[in-house]
Symmetry: D4
Subunit: 218 residues, 8 copies
């Protein structure tokens, strides 16, 4: 097994300082590195989320933490598998289209493992306004709404105009051509014509869920 | 007066071929050039729109065509001043915000001078959905709707989802920062999640009005 | 089979409202999701186009809708397989080069399944002007012309200068280097020096065909 | 005075729905339009913020609302001049450099007029870490911290690593060359290596203050 | 007068090596610097072109070289004023629109002062194909054709398809919005679908004229 | 075999008009299409270059034209295999690095098949100036020099400063990171500080060879 | 006079820690702020450089520090006026063109006020290689060479290939069109084909001079 | 074996002139070319680094130079395997995250093979400031610090503010979405708010190590 000190400097006290689980960003790490990190986490008993884990990486983590929960669609692993009991306000995650679901699920699970209750609504894009308007009652119960959308990135503006709480907007790389890998919805969300829209990186479901959990903290 | 042949090759037969007035793009032309062009137009009696005319340029044109109509907000001059009687279907122009009005008026006047009836609704951006929903009856009477919006460029997607006819989307340079001079709404409109959206250049009210007039032709 | 409600909110009434078949954008959807969607479509008997279907996705759809028509080159499936009888005006699709054919076919089939007669001409790029000039009679019979071009994106300007009806311009990602994935023809088309050019997203044959069908509706 | 209905559709009920003052974005509006809007606001007695008001625009507004508060540095006017009594949690605004002050003040005033207590710290950029570390006690009392920075946009990542509450990051156009008008700090903030960072548009002090006020609401 | 050695290292032998006049790029130079350079040129009797000279800069040059020729539209000064007798093949400069004329004139004068005969045709954009087709006989007499165009940049592709000699394509910043300062025609020209197109920098009439003169050299 | 008329409109008279072989751009064409095109070319006996042919595409072409010459490194096929006897002036192709060789070879072969003598020098980048200076005698014998370079794209400026004839500059996608697929050398070449530099598309060896052959024609 | 604490947090101990004068970036600061900062600097006797000072800003600084040195071309003020005696190795600044001189002078003065001997050579661009080759002896005496260039940004690659010490490359915004405000030379320098090239921001003469002084420190 | 002269012009005297080993950039070279180059290197006994070698390329090199050292993580081969004895000052390489390790190792090994002592610290990103602050003593012993970071690229600004010697900043492509392949940290580093930051290309560990070795030379 790789020597942990030679490639990582884990921040095991971070949970104490901020009240949330440690996160390990898997992209660019070797399976040997992830195995060593997972073993150290088990040894020190640190609640952890592993993000952007490809299948082979997930296998390496599960070898050290076999009781972790693995959600392949969201590329996420959580250890321990059971999230904390919900506290704070409700988080609602709204995904514009079915293809935005992996990112939306990553946001939902992150918020849940950081301690919030979290509901997910899917396929409520603005091309059929009745779909989002039908969920207005749920949206208005939330302490914060995460909106996940690719293509035109129009949904956050519409939702922010309908509710009084913050919207966390997540552009996705869903789309093609002049989407330019999510640039189109990113710029649209940064220029949202309604105030109250907080933008995170393209496809960053983890960051959105984390931010929402912080906003909805008691 | 400048010698017309040395800098322009006017296409006086174009009205015959396409059924619409000649257009002269004023940006980058000297006042001497515009005077000579206006004089030639008067002499040959060719209905003409002058687009993107700055005040000094407009004065040069009006010196040769004093009975032209000048709309400074839209930077447009029309000669003769009276538009043709309306034919074809109704064009509706919807502007997301007050700051989009100059471009919206350019579109409206162009469509009108190309022979269509044209109505204008303003300040119907998606941050307050009730504003556009209140105009649904009017929108559904149109043969084509021109939607003018800056910032997030979200309005065309919403409108296209509500009606059965084409939407001509005009991004504007209204906004700042990550609008990047209109790039944000341009990309959003090209990625509209509802089909039936035709995009033109940033701030191109003339092009939008022309296209709408063609679509709504009898 | 996946639970439809958990990932999609199909808009089965849309055909009624807009008069056109439902469309399912396949990119980013799992085969399980597409199977469930296809089964629901069959059950509710909703005419549907499936766009951007990769071979494996097409197989999943055909498993539920074996009598659908599948055009692999255009990545399109249509159900039912028979298009409606033609109504409205003629749509002509012109592709600049052979490599633009997949997008052109997607446009043609879409227009046809939305109820228009539609003819296709191929390899009529501006490097050999006689090729497009030879088809002038056909172009002038159209109610709208879809022009598909990559590289310099020059064909829509030329066509729009020759006819009196709208041109729907589709930039393609055909090319390399400074094409930047279709950015070059996209910008060229947005800056077309002839009025009457409506631009859609790069490689968006479906959107172009849909818009053309709306413009050419009776 | 201009006819209000012809260019604006004010949303006087918005304060009721969301609990915050109306906002009027002044850029691109004529002084005649702003005079008419200000008069209507006085007549209906609607608390309002005017953002991005250039001096001449501010004069037009003050002519109708002479008792408004005008902060030229922040390009902001507030009417009525007295903010509501503070409620909810503390907002802290931290500006990396002196040149970021106009945007930071816009954020501070907005948060204050939306009902939050708000403190401002200036010139605490990361090139001298002791400056931000000296303010740690204040930062840790906040319910949300707004961080305003141009150039490398590094301050939000550092602050987010030091506190447990959300950071609202505002990139500014302060800088030159490869700042590309604020693109550099915008991208840096979207890629913040610490979670809990919410990004708004370049120079968007109003949006940041609004979002912070929502997050810190009771 | 400024001390020449402290800011410039003139290359007075260049004319000998390459057979063409020296060129001084005026942008960014002070009037004092230009005066000193012009005086040195007169003293050493070096034929020179001054490019991109603003009016105040031109005055400084003319103070030292009063018999120079100044063409304000092209921002060019030539000394001595009389060009060499024509040698080599014919250069034709074709400008798509009237607004492209300053760049086209810069190209024409440069080619002429480098020793070529040079003819100019204007306003022959592709929106009216008959305009360029009418000049085919002239174009086919050229040894090289310089094509100057903004907006869609389509003219070089069309011209290159009609003739057998090289086309030097000059994109211009004529246009607005998605022209992005000439990026649109620049990319279009780099992707010209006809071979034989040589591209130079946006608005670089001097470079185009120089290149054309080299290509048409005997 | 596919029906040629349904996807291509070959321009068999082009060789007559311009004096050069037909070219078929293979990217994006199916092997069935290429087979049909190759068969038509054999039948009509039209000298042809096939560019950007991947191995599978080359096999399809060779099946119809087994006596064609195939240069895999340059992705080029030529039919007939024997180039015409050299006429006109000498073309020299200079490649900055070994990795630029495929593009340089494409340029060299193209120039040769269009009838010019053509010499190739490799690995003469500006980091070791003596390498290009050692080849000065050869460069000065050329009628035109094609310079192929990635990374900083500095070689064309240096070469153009050393010779009196045109330089055709070909940026390549060799490099990584801030090369952005060849954007860096493309922009550098467009901004060459020496006049006489003609730029073509990134990796466009064919276009460079064609242009050079035209410039060096007798 | 403005209250210093409300807008700045001067780092008067920085000189001690790093051994170099304090720097005040003037862009975006009001004259009142600069007056207050200059007064505090005089009071505490802190050697300081003021960078990017426009004329009006320089007047405000000189009112408090009348014995400062002001170099308008470089937009720089230094207080005290006398630089420290030279120590460490020689810095050479090489500017490609006369128009790059303001940035080159900013670099030279900065290096000098940080304690290095510094020589400047101007107008040694690669279009005339003999100009830089003539200065080789001087370049080879340097401990570090700052190379300032706009347009193609080719000079750093050439210089780095000729010497054994580091090159600090400063792209400038000199140029037009596809220079895109200095993006072209910036990218070229980042892709320099010779190792040993350190890049700083566009037009950042101060940063280059500072870095060079650090590298050449004893 | 391929004929070396036909594709490479090795600069075997370079080590003499600059005192450092030759470098061969492997990307884009065939295995046959690399074999021939490696054989020539052995024959002439030239110390060499092979950079960006993919596994198959490394095999080809090792076939000719079996005693070379191969570090797959850094994609580097060094021949001879033993680095020179350390001279000059200490180089420290600091990597923000574990995923930046391959680039950091490339820098470390390069500096070592150019003759410097070099220490590596990993996972010291700014989200946990204590990690970098704990290494302050080591950082302050260095003659130059190489900082390797992706995402927000904030670490170089923080480090440069803590030490008195130059920082060589290496942006990496670690990250996703709005990182745009490393553009985000590249721009952040170019805009570093602390002076003394030298930027190299994205992922350019070799260039950073080389530059650091030059700066730390005795």
């Amino acid at each position: 097994m790789a020597d942990l000190e030679s490639f990582a400097h884990l921040d095991f006290g971070r949970g104490d300082r901020r009240g949330y689980p440690e996160a390990v960003y898997c992209a660019g790490k070797t399976t040997a590195q992830l195995s060593a990190i997972a073993a150290a986490i088990r040894e020190r008993d640190v609640p952890t989320l592993f993000t952007r884990a490809e299948p082979e990486q997930a296998q390496a983590i599960l070898a050290s933490l076999p009781d972790a929960r693995h959600e392949p669609q969201a590329r996420l692993l959580a250890w321990p598998a059971t999230p904390p009991p919900p506290s704070g306000g409700l988080v609602v995650v709204a995904a514009a289209g079915t293809s935005d679901l992996p990112v939306a699920r990553e946001a939902q699970l992150t918020a849940r493992y950081l301690g919030r209750a979290c509901e997910l609504v899917v396929d409520v894009g603005v091309a059929g306004l009745h779909r989002i308007l039908e969920r207005l009652e749920l949206l208005r119960r939330a302490k914060v709404v995460v909106v996940v959308a690719g293509m035109d990135g129009a949904l956050p503006s519409v939702v922010a105009g309908l509710i009084a709480v913050p919207v966390v907007a997540v552009p996705t790389s869903v789309g093609y051509g002049a989407s330019f890998g999510g640039l189109a919805p990113l710029l649209a969300m940064l220029n949202a014509c309604a105030p109250g829209v907080a933008v995170v990186n393209i496809d960053n479901g983890y960051g959105a869920g984390h931010l929402a959990a912080q906003i909805a903290a008691a």
